[in-house]
């Protein structure tokens, strides 16, 4: 989605320049929440303050909202049709593959090592087998990192 945003706001509308765009991505990814929405908030604020934010966020959210709303309205009636059920039987394992496969790319771009791989492995096991809420995994990751950094800086 980011290349699309870049083409629109940097190349076409010239709302922000290349450097500011890179800063925006850094902020939008570091902050919690959806990256597309975070980017919209940044650009909206930068261009038109509060009104800009309202416009940009509505623009980022409304198309998905309306499309899914329409689908949700008809899906409950359709999903028991044998043909639809058959299609979804084929689609479900594909979805799991689409979630799992990008892990290769993500691990590679995060420059994961055998040691740092312990972090995602622990997180995945806690959630998968331990039934731990991912929120707590995120919160503990942040707290442990801060404590470890603090101890490192003391020495």
């Amino acid at each position: 989605m980011l290349p699309l945003i870049q083409r629109e706001v940097v190349d076409r509308q010239h709302w922000i320049d290349e450097e500011e765009f890179l800063n925006m991505i850094a902020l939008a990814q570091a902050a919690p929440g959806l990256i597309a929405v975070n980017s919209a908030i940044f650009i909206g604020w930068r261009i038109g303050g509060w009104r800009g934010v309202c416009g940009a966020v509505l623009g980022a959210v409304l198309p998905s909202f309306l499309i899914i709303l329409m689908i949700a309205m008809v899906f409950s009636d359709w999903k028991n049709l044998p043909a639809v059920e058959a299609v979804f039987k084929g689609v479900r394992p594909a979805v799991v593959a689409l979630i799992a496969a990008p892990l290769v790319k993500l691990a590679r771009s995060a420059k994961i090592t055998w040691l740092t791989a312990l972090i995602p492995v622990t997180a995945a096991l806690l959630i998968w087998l331990g039934g731990v809420n991912p929120v707590w995994v995120i919160v503990s990751a942040i707290i442990i990192t801060l404590i470890v950094e603090k101890l490192k800086n003391k020495n």
């Binding site: 499309i67 899914i68 394992p93 892990l103 972090i119 995994v137």
Partner: protein
Amino acid sequence: MLYLQLFISFFRIGLFGFGGGLAILSLIQMEVEAHGWMTQQEFVDIVAVSQVTPGPIGINCATYVGYTAGGLWGSVLTTFAIVLPSLIIMLSVCRAYFWLNRRFQGNPYFEQTLRILRFTVIGLIASAALLLIRPTNFIDTASWIIFGVVAFFTILPELVRSQTTNPKSIRGKILNLASHPILLIVLAGLAGYILYA
């Protein structure tokens, strides 16, 4: 009570959803299952729908869950709730943009936390996939073949693309097309229709 619960859940998802799209799935999965708003199967189906429709996956899930659990107003509420933490945090960040930039750039605590979160998020995505490997989603051998083929084509560009492959060249274009999620979902749906209908 339902509306309050929906609001709290999706506000929490927005607040702790680091790392975008796929990473947020495990949070949504946990919330909707804990409250019985969606079955595991419905969750997979809506992720499939999200893959073939435009827009952020988090918004798609929020809207769908909100509608099925609480009707039209439910969907408005959940969509608002998932965006609200972003609004609060990003606006504060934007207002203090230059000040923050000076303070946080190169701050070891901040940089290290981001680095560790990137690793953690990989675990979150893995758990989302692992939780979905169930008999309801994998009904027979054909399911595993579909899984394998889709995973293979998704990873393919990673395996064969060298630094010199130009995404605009014919080779790059074929790779992009062959690994396109919409195409893969449509083909898997077609396979399902042929196999099971």
